[in-house]
């Protein structure tokens, strides 16, 4: 218990210091009048359009870009992916399950109503209990046992299981919404005309075209620089690039490696890329059938030339990995390299497991996203080269209907990816490999215990050490076929001063733009 108290005191000091430096880091806007900058336009390239601006419905990375410029979480990740207070001032942790969070007292929503602990409680209540809203963020708060107000400007969170990534979920997924407004207008109306606490407020939303936000000069933090920011929804990649070149937009998102050549030839725009948080792997049914044998799973890992895929197919904008998250994510183990490309070893392992040319291993290889077809084909050919009989299939429903409901058949494989929203190892592990949580295919009592222990470890270094050990174990068990993590690629007008972040978040309050 004494340990916790010491930690709580330390974390308070760190957070207060963080708040001070965070303020200074943002102080780039000091001396710049609110909203005096040029308007900035960002295109959110995505096959779908946002249908609601409610920040607590979806978990889609793309449309959270709008939410994070209009709303605040209790915490936030700064540019170096370190936790900083946002609507919170500080926190303490009297025990492993309890978080006492002090809130800012100087915050008002865009409609002028003050931000209080009642809004925090109502935000979490709505995500958990509102069946009609059916918030997709529900699973990210399922470890919360209770949220209770302590006066107007403090709340207590009590968790079910110890979770050191908990505060990161308050920093990346959950945004605080005003109770008074939602009580009055309801979810649907709120989704049309959201009211937040953030540096920008809603100006207009033209369905299918754009969302325009204007500077909120009552913002409690550093005043936003751009007078307006605009989010466009151009879904066609080639049109997006033309819009960037013609100066209609300033930042193009989700740029694919094949289109970077077109951007490099242009003087007015630059390609910016950064190690991202999206990691790809092959998930498989390890409970029964051929993949129950770890030698077969290792053989798949040795059979694939990830470096060739990253260089040739993905234009070098990808990095081979031997883990289920990228190096920008907390918990990444530098000492665990990707599996080497060793087809002979793959063949030997398959022989050991009882497969040869007279009795080849047969697998069904599923893909549910058309853009991954080239990668799927390439992996299938590497697997065929070591004597595996591969049937490739494309089925857009496979992920939801089969994989997600835990109904994968024997010998079935799917290529999938995970956007590590929390920038934390536990996020990917909980979704794929933890038998006590969602992990519905591979799990073992030993790895489950190791994941829980690392999750509950409050000391940062001890936690990293726990993941280092776990990653070594997982590498050898090969619960999935590790592939690569991809870079975030953006096309950016040379007139704007903006840098991408590893978590893919786009904050626009500090962006300056030359005429």
């Amino acid at each position: 218990m004494a340990g916790y108290r010491w930690f709580a005191a330390a974390s308070l000091v760190i957070l207060t210091a963080g708040a001070a430096t965070g303020g200074r880091a943002q102080g780039a806007s000091n001396g710049v009048a609110c909203g005096s900058g040029q308007p900035v336009s960002v295109n959110l390239l995505w096959p779908t359009q946002p249908n609601t601006l409610d920040p607590n419905y979806d978990t889609l990375v793309m449309f959270a870009q709008i939410s994070r410029n209009m709303f605040n979480g209790l915490f936030k990740l700064d540019d170096s992916m370190t936790l900083q207070p946002d609507l919170a001032v500080s926190y303490s942790q009297p025990d492993a399950l309890t978080y006492e969070i002090e809130l800012r007292k100087d915050v008002v929503f865009h409609d002028g109503s003050p931000f209080t602990s009642a809004d925090v409680v109502a935000t979490f209540d709505r995500i958990v209990k509102d069946q009609k809203l059916a918030s997709k963020q529900r699973s990210y708060v399922s470890n919360i046992k209770s949220v209770t107000p302590k006066g107007d400007h403090a709340v207590n969170f009590v968790l079910k299981q110890p979770d050191s990534s908990f505060l990161k979920s308050l920093a990346t997924i959950i945004y605080i919404t005003p109770r008074s407004v939602i009580d009055k207008v309801g979810n649907v109306e709120f989704g049309k005309k959201p009211v937040g606490t953030g540096p920008f407020k809603l100006d207009s939303w033209t369905m299918g075209d754009s969302v325009v936000l204007t500077a909120n000069c009552d913002y409690h933090g550093d005043k936003p620089i751009p007078s307006k920011v605009e989010f466009r929804f151009i879904a066609e990649p080639a049109t997006q690039i033309s819009s960037l070149q013609s100066g209609e937009i300033d930042i193009a998102t989700q740029v694919t490696s094949d289109l970077t050549a077109a951007l490099k030839s242009s003087r007015d725009v630059a390609v910016q890329s950064i190690d991202g948080n999206q990691t790809f792997w092959l998930s498989m049914n390890t409970k029964e059938g051929p993949f129950a044998d770890p030698r077969v799973r290792q053989a798949l890992n040795y059979a694939i030339d990830r470096t060739a895929i990253a260089r040739q197919l993905l234009g070098g904008f990808a990095t081979p990995v031997g883990q289920v998250y990228s190096k920008s994510v907390f918990g990444y183990t530098k000492a665990v390299s990707p599996y080497p490309f060793d087809p002979d070893k793959a063949k030997a392992l398959l022989r050991e497991a009882g497969y040869d040319s007279s009795r080849p291993l047969k697998i069904e290889f599923y893909n549910f996203r058309a853009e991954l077809n080239p990668v799927q084909q390439s992996i299938a050919s590497f697997l065929s080269d070591v004597g595996i009989k591969v049937t490739t299939r494309f089925d857009p429903n496979y992920f939801v209907d089969t994989w997600q409901s835990g109904k994968m058949g024997r010998g079935q494989v799917i290529i999938r990816s995970n956007n590590n929203l929390l920038m934390d190892a536990d996020f990917a592990l909980g979704l794929e490999l933890d038998g006590t949580r969602r992990g519905m295919y591979f799990s073992s009592p030993e790895t489950d215990a190791a994941i829980a222990k690392a999750r509950g470890e409050s000391d940062r270094n001890a936690r990293q050490a726990a993941y280092d050990a776990l990653n070594k174990t997982l590498y050898n068990l090969a619960p999935v076929t590790f592939l690569y993590s991809t870079d975030g690629i953006y096309g950016v007008s040379t007139r704007v001063d903006w840098k991408p972040r590893p978590d893919g978040a786009i904050y626009l309050a500090n962006v300056t733009k030359r005429r």
């Binding site: 359009q49 399922s142 989704g191 299918g208 080639a238």
Partner: protein, 306 residues
């Protein structure tokens, strides 16, 4: 005439009922709707709660009748994504699509008629041959390619026109031209052959013999008679325009009903997809009904026929 109209109307209602049944069944082709609504890592209990909340646990027939009962009252369900009425979303985006289609149609019909009439009048000339080859050429251009090339030329390079979206009349030019291009060829060839047929007929020869001017022969006598097949083709081509608008809207980021539908398909937002299919189905049925009636009014010969 009235009985013919009533017959056609009754038939249209039957078609719409068929469309509604297919539309409803779409929901079950895309997998478990409750699982679609839940988040990526929802537990089985969470999925069950959603299934109950949305009534997916009832028998399919009951769900269909319930859906149809609400549909005839204008309630096509609520978008899974936005929780807004699906019909409201579709009707909000529909005017943009209709505007685009109307402009493209006006552009392609007027261009097609002028070019076709000229080609027929100067039959066998170099211009005529150019029209014949040209109309095949423009019909062979894929519209996504044409759209991107036009954006590259007029927006990215010349910076004359905006690339995408809809914030004023100038935004309409590139998508309307792209969408119209395919149809121009069809109309030009149609008008040309129809005009040639009429120009060869007896009454035109009589008019010529009476000493009528070339202009009055072409525009006063021949064109009105050649117009009937054009109207039929417009009716047929409208279906093509609705379809062609899907690609055009995507390339130009046009905030129309097709962009919305494509987005709904990708996120498997079933109520919106259903509303889209139903509304467009009804539109096509109504358009054909109107064309049919128009035909009867314009051509007295068809009035007796059933």
């Amino acid at each position: 005439m009235r009985s013919r109209f009533i017959n056609r109307l009754a038939f249209s209602v039957l078609v719409m009922l068929g469309v509604s049944a297919i539309t409803f069944l779409l929901m079950f082709l895309a997998g478990d709707p409750a699982a679609l609504l839940a988040s990526e890592d929802a537990t089985a209990a969470e999925v069950e709660a959603i299934r109950k909340a949305y009534g997916f646990d009832r028998p399919i027939v009951v769900q269909y009748l319930d859906w149809l009962w609400h549909a005839v009252q204008g309630d096509l369900g609520v978008s899974y994504q936005s929780r807004r009425p699906a019909l409201e979303l579709i009707l909000h985006a529909l005017p943009n699509t209709l505007l685009l289609i109307a402009c493209a149609l006006a552009l392609s019909v007027s261009t097609g008629v002028i070019v076709g009439v000229l080609a027929a009048t100067f039959r066998g000339s170099r211009f005529d041959r150019l029209v014949i080859t040209g109309s095949v050429f423009v019909q062979s251009l894929p519209s996504f390619w044409l759209g991107i090339v036009m954006i590259l030329i007029f927006s990215a390079t010349l910076r004359l026109l905006p690339t995408s979206g809809f914030r004023g009349p100038s935004y309409l030019i590139l998508p309307a031209v792209t969408l119209a291009t395919f149809q121009v060829g069809t109309f030009a060839r149609m008008v040309r052959s129809s005009m040639l047929e009429v120009l060869d007929s007896d009454f035109v020869r009589t008019a010529r013999a009476k000493g009528a001017s070339a202009g009055s022969i072409v525009f006063g006598h021949a064109l009105p008679n050649a117009a009937l097949p054009i109207i039929t083709v417009v009716g047929l081509e409208l279906g093509g325009l609705y379809g062609g608008a899907v690609v055009t809207e995507t390339v130009f980021g046009w905030p129309g009903v097709n962009t919305l539908a494509l987005s709904a398909i990708t996120s498997r937002d079933m109520p919106v997809i259903q509303a889209f299919v139903l509304v467009v189905g009804i539109l096509v049925v109504i358009t054909n009904l109107v064309i049919d009636m128009l035909y009867t009014i314009l051509d007295p010969r068809t009035r007796g026929a059933r």
